[in-house]
């Protein structure tokens, strides 16, 4: 088979996106939907078909030259290797299920062509990031993801808060993009190329300070897309978009892009111990921050949004601890169960008649379809890290990797990770109890649930539960398939005695049980939730928006105001207005001369005649 065919993987969704955007509204609805789903499903099947290409060092595929400038050429090239292959498979697979779900979810939507076109474009952009061979193509996908997220979060732009959420996501991630672009330019200046493999190979020759600075820049870029501290404020607001979009952003695509970027450039990043520590610190702090915020949220999708932030924080922590395999493992399992959770949340909101507030739900176990409960429970168990689920193994692997680093900093981070695990269990079971336990508290009329919204949940929930098999540790008889598959890309090898591993697993299990117990005691019977200062603080995400407003937005507005009023209006406008007023005044004064009377004009006539006569006389005198 020709390896150029690998390009079909990203280009099929792109083609479907273009078709849907151009002709979607003229096609019958069924055709447009089929086009959207089949585009992504086809690239999923192609990924399976081409799986063998990822063996060894992977496969290079060249489509053509993009930018030939002087002696630099930027090609359109793919690199399909052991890191990209599972990621591609996950993205296309989860996206296919989400597309199916979206067909059911959006069946009342008038503007379906725009929606499916953007959704497909989103998948294309993400695949461009995953498969990119050079950083410029990666950046293309990076920006594409940002654009699509903006358009999709603000999809129902008629409501201004949705449009504002989209704009916010775009602007905040854009801040990160600038750092990434700076890193790209610096790398280009250093190496003269943007090929990822070449950069990774030559990273060892960079000066240590340069490496650290580059790592920090890359980290900030990744923070923007992955909603890590300090660029995390957009993610919770991004819930304004349709639920399939939330699932796509949080599970399969956008937020994992930052983790993937760091994994891709891990050979470079790992050379800077300070940079690695920074990554780990950012990850751990975000994990804790988001977990505390999730404790107090009232909207179901916002709880899940903060949980995503927290889990991505774990992935950063794993990268910082040097375990790419751990990060990728958690990324994959998280993608499965988080997609399931989001889509189930969409079903729940549907059943509650559009009600978002978990304090006004309840009783869904009795009333709703049982399968929804089981799916949601499966996802929640994975998220909380209940033993033997996918989330348990992947989170455990990360904590083990952090623990085995051994330095005091990493031990402290490990402590934070454990605390976060406890909090995760608490807020997850709080969610489950508030939504499903007890009697119904809401008054919304349930919408009926189409089959297409229920069926895609099952495979995702199963994948989440069984996700541990991907990288089952030798401790319980597995042989770490993913780590072996990644081979040299897997990062640091984690060496730990069996006793430590057992102890850690026991500790994690204990924490989950503790969290569950607390949630059951507190939320088993609904006792209402009074608001106090602390919960309000957490509900607003530690008032991060207010802080950003105070630190950046208000000074910027003040400066803009200064420029507008002080500079533009007082200086430029005033000068021009003054000139105009002077001219008008002159005109007003001259206007008096034109009386409209014939005598005035005749007198002017004679004066002119006199002047001419005087001129003659003067000439005569001379």
């Amino acid at each position: 088979m020709n390896q150029t065919l690998l390009f079909l993987i990203p280009l099929l969704p792109l083609a479907c996106a273009v078709l849907n955007m151009l002709f979607g509204m003229r096609l019958p609805r069924l055709v447009a939907e089929t086009l959207a789903v089949s585009g992504v499903a086809a690239s999923f099947l192609l990924t399976l078909l081409f799986w063998g290409y990822a063996d060894g060092a992977g496969t290079h595929a060249l489509l053509g030259t993009w930018l030939p400038v002087g002696d630099i050429t930027i090609p359109f090239a793919l690199h399909f290797d052991a890191l990209a292959a599972p990621m591609t498979l996950m993205v296309t697979g989860v996206a296919t299920l989400i597309h199916l779900y979206a067909v059911g979810y959006m069946h009342d939507e008038e503007d379906y062509a725009r929606f499916f076109g953007l959704l497909n474009l989103f998948v294309f952009a993400m695949l461009a990031i995953v498969l990119a061979d050079n950083l410029l193509v990666l950046f293309l996908g990076w920006e594409g993801v940002g654009l699509c997220s903006y358009a999709l979060i603000g999809f129902w732009y008629q409501k201004s808060e949705n449009a504002r959420a989209g704009t916010k996501a775009f602007l905040v991630t854009r801040v990160g993009d600038i750092f990434l672009a700076a890193a790209l330019l610096w790398l280009f200046a250093l190496t003269g190329t943007l090929e990822i493999a070449a950069i990774n190979a030559r990273a060892a020759s960079f000066a240590p300070e340069v490496l650290t600075a580059l790592t920090v820049l890359l980290l900030l870029g990744a923070c923007g897309k992955s909603a890590q501290l300090p660029l995390m404020t957009w993610l919770a607001d991004a819930m304004a978009g349709p639920t399939p979009v939330s699932a796509l952003i949080h599970a399969a695509t956008m937020v994992t892009a930052g983790v993937y970027l760091l994994c891709r450039l891990f050979p470079l990043v790992s050379l800077s111990p300070d940079g690695m520590a920074a990554i780990a610190v950012v990850g751990a702090l975000t994990a804790l921050y988001a977990a505390t915020c999730a404790l107090a949220q009232r909207e179901i999708k916002r709880v899940l949004a903060y949980s995503t932030m927290s889990q991505v924080g774990y992935m950063f922590l794993a990268v910082g601890a040097g375990s790419v395999a751990g990060a990728m493992f958690h990324l994959l399992t998280h993608a499965f169960f988080k997609a399931a959770l989001f889509m189930a949340a969409g079903c729940i909101i549907h059943l509650a008649g559009g009600e978002n507030d978990i304090l006004r739900m309840g009783g869904l176990f009795k009333r709703g379809p049982r399968e929804l409960f089981w799916v949601f429970l499966a996802g929640a168990l994975c998220l909380a890290g209940a033993p033997l689920t996918g989330g348990f193994f992947s989170k455990d692997g990360i904590l083990l990797a952090v623990y085995t680093q051994g330095t005091p900093l990493f031990l402290a981070l490990w402590g934070i990770g454990l605390l976060t695990a406890l909090l995760t269990a608490v807020y997850t079971f709080r969610l489950v109890y508030l939504v499903f336990a007890g009697e119904p508290r809401g008054h919304g009329h349930p919408h009926d649930l189409p089959l297409l919204m229920r069926r895609p949940l099952w495979p995702l929930a199963l994948l989440g539960l069984c996700g541990g098999l991907l990288n089952l540790p030798p401790l319980v008889g597995g042989h770490e398939w993913l780590t072996h598959r990644l081979g040299t890309l897997a990062g640091r090898e984690i060496l730990a005695g069996h006793s430590i591993e057992w102890a850690l697993a026991g500790l994690a299990t204990g924490l989950v049980i503790l969290g569950w117990g607390f949630a059951r005691w507190r939320y088993g019977q609904f006792r209402g939730e009074q608001e106090n200062r602390a919960s309000r603080f957490l509900l607003l995400g530690w008032r991060a928006d207010a802080l950003v407003d105070l630190l950046f937005v208000r000074p910027f507005t003040a400066m803009a105001g200064l420029c507008a009023i002080g500079c533009d209006r007082a200086l430029v406008d005033a000068t021009l207005d003054g000139l105009a007023r002077q001219t008008t005044a002159c005109g007003e004064r001259l206007r008096g001369l034109t009386t409209g009377r014939v005598s005035t004009y005749l007198a002017g006539f004679v004066w002119g005649f006199l002047i001419i006569l005087g001129w003659f006389l003067l000439a005569l005198v001379k």
Binding site: A603, V606, W607, F609, L610, L613, G614, F616, L617, L620
Partner: protein
């Protein structure tokens, strides 16, 4: 064409001619002055006709008998009669208010006029060619006709068109507006 025939008759003597010129000039200026200071337009027109008669005589003195005749016929006879006719048709008040010596109006005009006149006279006197008087000159109707219809034939045509246009324009303007419905006839 410029053979210099002597002026026939009484005015052949230069001395007498010049005296007559100064007399006529004085009469013209007096009549004109009276004309421009009259309140009643009818009086003004009559004085002006008088001034034109004097002017016609001056033209005759200068050897332009045809121009003199036309001055009488066209100016005094036609144009001024037209003025009179219009004045009478419009029933402009003959006496009305007496001519007020409005200083605000007359004094600037007087100063302006005197300055203009002074400048002009100064210019004329300064010109050395104006001092001489030359010999007497008489343009015969034959010379005049040859020049007019031979040399200036095109100009005559243009002027005749001009007159036609003026006649049409005067007719159009003077016709008055068609009376609108419901409007009282004035």
């Amino acid at each position: 064409m410029n053979t210099a025939p002597s002026i026939p008759g009484l005015w052949c003597h230069d001395m007498i001619g010049s005296v007559v010129f100064y007399l006529l000039a004085a009469a013209t200026l007096t009549a004109t002055l009276l004309c421009i200071t009259r309140t009643s337009p009818v009086h003004a027109v009559i004085y002006l006709v008088h001034a034109f008669f004097d002017l016609a005589l001056i033209f005759y003195l200068f050897g332009a008998p045809l121009v003199a005749a036309w001055e009488m016929i066209i100016y005094a006879g036609a144009i001024m009669v037209l003025f009179l006719f219009i004045i009478m048709m419009l029933e402009l008040s003959p006496g009305g208010k007496p001519l007020t010596v409005d200083r605000r109006r007359w004094i600037p005009v007087l100063i302006l006029s005197l300055v203009t006149l002074g400048c002009t006279v100064l210019l004329i006197i300064q010109d050395p060619s104006s001092a001489g008087s030359g010999t007497a000159y008489h343009a015969s109707p034959r010379d005049f006709g040859t020049a007019l219809f031979d040399h200036y034939a095109l100009a005559v045509q243009v002027v005749s068109f001009q007159l036609l246009f003026a006649a049409v324009g005067a007719y159009y303007v003077g016709k008055g507006e068609p009376r609108k419905r419901g409007e009282q006839p004035s």
